[in-house]
């Protein structure tokens, strides 16, 4: 449900190994999630900006017993106050804390039966930055 063409584009680029966020061609707002119109200025003149390796911090986190952690992260590149929600993958995800530095990454989707994403397909995710 609630799938859309902008999201399909975003997921297609990720599946091909490319991390991008939506970017407004009028006001340069970079935001998540992908939408039909810019949340800052309202135009539908939207494009994409590469964000591979973008650095951010954990804004909030919830650990799930046996199922990894979900984190909501702030990234400087997201210049309109939106955040990135994703699975925290890799070493240390069960000990991660609010405020820790993270990096956008690609990881295999662990969920099956979804529209536009197969289990094992690369999706944008988050990993802790190793000190």
């Amino acid at each position: 449900m609630n799938m859309n063409k902008h999201l399909r584009h975003y997921l297609g680029r990720a599946a091909a190994g490319e991390l991008v966020f939506p970017r407004c061609e009028e006001c340069a707002a970079v935001f998540m999630p992908p939408r039909a119109a810019c949340p800052a200025c309202g135009t539908d003149a939207l494009g994409w900006t590469p964000v591979g390796g973008a650095q951010g911090t954990i804004y909030s986190i919830s650990r799930h017993s046996n199922e990894g952690s979900v984190a909501l992260c702030e990234f400087e590149v997201l210049n309109t106050g939106t955040r990135f929600y994703g699975q925290l993958v890799g070493p240390g995800n069960q000990q991660a804390q609010i405020g820790q530095p993270v990096e956008l990454t690609l990881a295999e989707c662990t969920v099956s039966g979804m529209d536009a994403v197969d289990q094992g397909q690369l999706i944008p995710s988050i990993k802790l930055v190793e000190n």
Binding site: M1, N2, M3, L7, M32, P33, P39, Y59, S60, I61, S62, R63, H64, S65, E67, G68, V70, L72, G81, T82, R83, F84, Y85, G86, Q87, I98, G99, C109, T110, V111, M114, D115, A116, V117, I123, S125
Partner: protein, 378 residues
Amino acid sequence: MSTSVVIAGTGVAPTRADEHRDTMDVMAQACIEATRDAGIQLRDIDAIFTATAQVALPTLALAEYLGITPRYLDSTVHGGASNLSHLQHAVAAINAGQIEVALIAYGSTQRTALKATGTRPMVAAAPPLEAMANPRYPITSYALMASRYLHQWEVPREYLSAVAIAASRWGALNPAAQRRELLSHEEILASPAVAEPFHTLDCCLITDGAGALVVMSQQKAKSLGLAQTVTIAAVADVTEHDGMMAMPDLTSTGARLTGASAFEQAGFGPNEVNTVQIYDAFTINPILILEDLGFCDRGQAGRFIADGHTSPGGKLPMNTSGGGLAYTHPGMFGIYTILESVAQLRGRAGQRQVPAKTALAHGIGGTMSSHSTVLLTV
């Protein structure tokens, strides 16, 4: 808002039953009880408002099942705030002269369905980008708010427990409540971890239930000789996001806007509210909403609740039915915030009765995504 519109009757279907029940029947039971309470016939209803995830085309199905042919239909659905929004729509339609008597109904048999099939009907689905991160939707979303709140204000986890403990104190006074026993912080921590920082006892119940409201103009109520009516003083709605990526601030919600709007419409403020009913799907909810509505400063509501101010005998009786944590939670709790407000204002709340001339009800839909604040007076 011109405030000549009243709630003239309420009906509730029991939370518990031994027999198998279907959603149509609990809804019909609540509707019939509400019309009797209002002293009207089903055929007097000319507008129907309903939201449920368990009936297809619910306004049509319910109208036919009740044998009525309303000329105004509203199946607005935005989660647990929907039935409060129905009040706003009913007031507008009555003030515009389009309708005379509105019936607002909600119902669900989640617990029956869970027992019968092992799964319960969902009222919403996670946004796609959240679903692929494998969360426990919607629990994870509220858990993220709770984690952020505890971190941001450097307050203890006990404040979340205080919300469930206060709910259990009210539930103990409500014979209709699913949970009657008092809870402790230790019991909450000993319940299974769901999504940090939440344990099972931080989350609402899964029950059956239904509620209905009959709404009409003050003038109409007077002509019917109805004495025990409750005036709708204000209703305000907003949405600022659907999913968590677009939620502007995890510790402050759209209730800032609906509260300010509702108090402006009603011409009074938080200090003049005698009791509040806030949709408590999770323990973090009443904390954030009390702050956003102006009852507490930011970062202070957890302490306020832990100090007992919202418990029986406290200065701001909150969720006096026991709420979604102790009384009932059939999928969406919104209509119960109105039902309990009306019960308190009419002096029909039994052992849990508080002195009340004004009441606030607050509904929340999605993941803190839709908000509706209602002010009621007698």
